[in-house]
């Protein structure tokens, strides 16, 4: 940020403030969209939660989550399992609110959950997606007849990248001993 500002003062000083405000406006628009999306998903999630389905799901996934994330708090496991299942279903927008909630619960116990938080971020930002719908839509609207061809390379490359990244994080954990 500092370096870019320094360069800009010399190149185009009149652009700085207008860009900052323009960007902030974009984020306001984005947040209104997100508000709507999260409201729907958090509503659905609450039904899952209150009906007891959430506990069943987290019980089902907790052996995997316990051994990978090394956490044993019930709430943490529950929201991590929501996050992972939404990710696998390709519901990125539903995964985000549960991920944020999981991080909030982990914050309360920062010493124990250091590694779990890093792992959650890595899994969410390598982006496993079973059906790349947006991209296929773009290709089809541009006149492609074989847009579905990209599904297989997308899945393979994102799954492999996620596996590599998670292993890298485990190596990092060994070295740093967190």
């Amino acid at each position: 940020m500092f370096i870019s500002l320094g360069v800009l003062v010399f190149v185009e000083p009149n652009l700085i403030l207008s860009t900052m405000i323009e960007q902030s406006k974009n984020v306001v628009k984005l947040c209104i969209d997100l508000l709507a999306i999260y409201a729907v998903w958090l509503g659905i999630l609450e039904i899952v939660d209150q009906s007891g389905l959430g506990d069943k799901l987290s019980k089902l996934l907790s052996p995997i989550i316990k051994s990978l994330f090394k956490i044993d708090d019930k709430q943490q496991i529950k929201y991590v399992s929501y996050n992972l299942s939404c990710n696998l279903l390709g519901l990125g927008n539903a995964a985000t609110p549960s991920g944020i909630t999981a991080v909030k619960y982990m914050e309360k116990d920062l010493k124990k959950t250091k590694f779990a938080m890093l792992l959650l971020l890595v899994i969410n930002s390598t982006g496993i997606q079973l059906l790349p719908t947006t991209v296929i839509g773009l290709l089809t609207s541009a006149g492609s007849k074989t847009a579905s061809k990209i599904i297989i390379p997308t899945i393979i490359s994102s799954v492999v990248a996620t596996i590599i990244c998670v292993s890298l994080l485990f190596v990092y954990k060994k070295i740093k001993k967190i």
């Binding site: 700085i16 960007q23 947040c31 958090l42 039904i47 609110p97 930002s125 290709l139 006149g143 490359s157």
Partner: protein, 167 residues
């Protein structure tokens, strides 16, 4: 087929909720209410990150980085035409979508270049955005995770472009 999966799951969920004798309507409202707090919490952090990214781009430093790293990516087998996309994707979702549209328009929807670009787009995430949303206000140091995720983006891009040669 996939169009039906989510609605069917929702119907099943509501039936299950009624069967468990919970008030589905009020449960939904309670959940939806949390949305405001969530957005309130993450808003300032997204603004800050997005301003940083925009300044980085318009200052020309972004293009400089692309020029510096492109030869390296070419060595790894990523076509030179999509190098910019690989570098842009971690920063901005909307920006990389418009770049993707340009690439598709320029090289044709069914070309190797477009397939590569789409694979890159689909298999990587907007790392900086995701990390700013997830860790809004967190004291946790997340630099190692960001570096590993960025590396993951490059790995999936290289792999995606490689597989695209065979389809």
């Amino acid at each position: 087929m996939s169009v039906f999966i989510i609605p069917i799951l929702l119907i099943l969920l509501i039936i299950y909720g009624v069967y468990k004798k919970i008030n589905v309507y009020s449960a939904f409202c309670q959940g939806a209410k949390k949305s405001f707090d969530l957005i309130k919490g993450i808003f300032p952090y997204i603004v800050a990150i997005m301003i940083c990214i925009a300044l980085f781009r318009i200052s020309g430093l972004g293009m400089l980085l692309v020029k510096l790293l492109s030869p390296l990516f070419c060595l790894l087998g990523i076509p030179v035409e999509v190098c910019e996309l690989v570098l842009l994707k971690p920063f901005t979702g909307s920006g990389s979508i418009s770049l993707l549209q340009d690439i598709i328009a320029k090289y044709g929807a069914d070309s190797y270049i477009s397939y590569c670009a789409c694979t890159i787009m689909g298999s990587s995430e907007t790392v900086f955005y995701v990390s700013s949303v997830y860790f809004a206000g967190s004291k946790q140091k997340i630099a190692p995770a960001i570096i590993i995720s960025l590396l993951g983006g490059v790995i999936s891009s290289v792999l995606g472009c490689f597989i695209c040669r065979f389809i």
